[in-house]
Point group: C4
Chain length 271, copies 4
């Protein structure tokens, strides 16, 4: 168990940093994963910008979004988003809430994102909207109360993502890697859909195409390729978390400039 846990925490840290580096997250937004052994718990960082998160920042929560071990660190005020979705959706193993620039025009104009290219099918055929004002009237738009989280989870229902009016989006995945792909492809899809409007009305994928192309990002071939690519981009930008295994390595963070190939890393040629 401890190894599986360590592995998941490392993957969660990487997921946070990859999504930040690829422009889905910025100072805000957060990514969680369901506990690998206990479906009634989930893992989420303390309140910190995703690009900076380290393994020690990851905390364990109950599905009521209470930290399992009391801590003095500050927590994300919107963590109920995660807990409420894990309660409502046993199939969901990872969640990200974000305000990506690519989806904001849709969240603001209240216009649906539809799959317009094969990878965009990862977001599903349609994507519901949730307007916090409908049920809760004037708020600061943060999803902080359990009833707000439950309402959002109801709007998400069985979908892969929900758009939040005047706020952002929340995306769910069957695994962390599926989630990361889905969030990135959904932003690309939104960007292309918006730009295609300058040329005419974009023709979305046929429903049958959405079904077939919707699982492309789960192909082992694709997962390996995208995860290597996003990780290497992050590493090349100096964004990898400090390594805990070697105190010496931690002391000398990898320069942004170095591009290390996996083979080099395996051979341990770099200091």
């Amino acid at each position: 168990m401890p190894d599986k846990m360590t592995e998941l925490i490392e993957e969660l840290v990487l997921a946070n940093r990859i999504l930040a580096h690829e422009g889905v997250l910025d100072a805000f937004g957060h990514v969680s994963a369901r506990h690998p052994a206990d479906p009634n718990r989930y893992l989420l960082s303390r309140s910190r910008s995703p690009l900076l998160i380290e393994p020690d920042d990851i905390l364990e929560y109950t599905l009521d979004s209470e930290p399992v071990r009391p801590l003095k660190v500050s927590l994300y005020s919107e963590r109920v988003i995660h807990g409420c979705i894990y309660q409502a959706r046993p199939d969901v193993m990872a969640v990200v809430h974000h305000h990506a620039p690519a989806v904001m025009p849709f969240a603001i104009a209240g216009k649906p994102i539809v799959p317009v290219f094969h990878l965009g099918a990862a977001g599903g055929e349609d994507m519901p909207f949730w307007d916090q004002h409908d049920e809760f009237g004037d708020t600061n738009l943060l999803v902080v109360k359990p009833e707000e989280g439950r309402s959002l989870a109801r709007a998400l229902a069985g979908h892969s993502a929900v758009l939040m009016n005047r706020h952002g989006a929340t995306v769910a995945g069957g695994s962390l890697k599926e989630l990361v792909s889905r969030a990135i492809f959904m932003c690309q899809n939104a960007e292309y859909q918006l730009r295609a409007l300058a040329l005419g009305t974009p023709q979305p994928l046929y429903p049958g195409e959405v079904k077939l192309a919707g699982t492309l990002s789960l192909l082992p071939n694709v997962v390996t390729r995208t995860w290597e690519y996003w990780s290497m981009r992050l590493e090349a930008a100096g964004g990898m978390p400090p390594r805990r295994s070697s105190a010496k390595a931690a002391r000398r963070p990898m320069p942004k400039s170095s591009r290390v190939t996996p083979r080099e890393r395996r051979k341990g040629r770099r200091r």
Copy 2:
């Protein structure tokens, strides 16, 4: 006092560099802070691009925008913007004047920026316009005369920001950190509002939402997170000012590539 002053100067230098690195400022624009002890004075750099400003560049001004100590360095010709706003608005502790690409289309088309997402509420429910030509006829559009500065301050009135036709914007804050957040979120808001137009008419926040969400950027939770994030991005890009405390450190500026975590910095692991 000297410590408080040193601290504010360092924060002001950082505010200049953060706003430049986040795309609010470029070769032009300037950020000031009211003197921490004497409300009749303010601090502003000598004429220099914000990304390059160092603590030694910061000068002290009277509210008439005269330097307290005569100097041979050249000064920003538009410093009256700052002095006149500090005179008119006792609550304002920090001011930035800028030509951010995100706000320019609004300043040019004369169309209002309205809050379209929760963080955008930091700019307030509405934002006045000021057209220098209305009162002063043909000018080079720089705000250099005291009467021009006073006219701009009157247009700003009790608002958080004022758009300047065919020129840019000026933003006010209750503290330097509030100002930095407001300026950045206002640019994001403008960007999203413009892009949402391709989809339809953006629906702004409800007035009650603007009020409640308008103070989000003052939450300690949020201030900590954003300031760490923007600082680390600046540091990762090699944009931190040279440190004065250590001659040795100054001699070897931090490589752009290094990402230093706060913990590492505290432990002094880096040379």
Copy 3:
């Protein structure tokens, strides 16, 4: 022969990385070259993101897109695109399939890319569309079956590029360098054409101009300039493949920051 082969493999690796670094390719897309001696074979990487490809990743394929030497590595599922085009077009020596953000709006809206500036003429006077659904109904939109590849090659016919509805584009070239230029200029052309629409209806080049300007990117003057420029940009970003000739050099990848002039390289001044 081995030298010519080594040279072509190095150029193919560079072509992959240049097209990734210039924004034509991302996690996906692939570039191939026809075998320098045997027109019935072509060279293409194993399944990997183009920015990361190394000489050892390049495999040899028959025109039926079967690897000449059986291997345990995973292959691009869409390699039939390459094989089928080499079969149908003896004049084609290099092929790239991509989903560049610049062309996606056109592939989505089904609107033609037309040459709107001199370098854009490299794409030819008109560019056909291919919609996989027309002939094959609901698919995941990947071109994996030989009959899909052949259908795409038929749509390409004698043109320089074909747009694939809801998917991307495929570009052909008389040489690797012509292909790289054509792909990059075609993306710039698409970008400018889209943005010009905000101002009015773009006036494409006259047919006679397309013919004359279409070969600009083949001028020795131009090839030398662009190849040096794109290579240096890639090198400055730390994106050069590891060098195999010197174990020592491979151990110490060039820092992103270093800009090495050709003269310096010739003189071997760098370690």
Copy 4:
């Protein structure tokens, strides 16, 4: 004289690299300066991408665009643009021809760039168009014949810049620094003008404002600030030309990551 010449060559190299780094030039485009002592000669690089130009690349030309000293290097085929403008305009001391993405939509749609913010006034109140096809019919759109260069110079007339349909733009300046500012501000102006169209019809500066704001970029205050800013950005990106004065320095190019303040450089603190 030699010192003045060395200085101008260094400034010309820097102007090429700054304009490339700021997005005005890419693989193509070229910047020239009139000879400091002989008004019948001008200085221009051999055929090379502007970002890579070094002092040794700069050649001396007659106003007929013939190299003063015969050389084996290849030359820009469009150098007549420079010679013809220096012949027609004794007041012009520097010229740049470019295809900046910001101006391309205007060159393609044939719609005028008008000054929409104070710095944009550097481009002048109006900017003529030149369509090579009008006088020369079908060409590859390169300006290579003396009569094409003269025709372009006639279209430029007394203006600061001329837009070239389906090709790009050519800008003239009273000095290299004025030229660099004008070219950069003109691109910003074009970008803002295009984006403002999404909001409504942009209101250009009043004619009197254009006249007064048009010389802003000549203020010593402004020249110092912009030149320091653009140079430091270039230096931070590792884009400075190799220094010739010190063989040792040339051997160890400045890392991209280092930000050196002018003061540090003067004090020679860096190795």
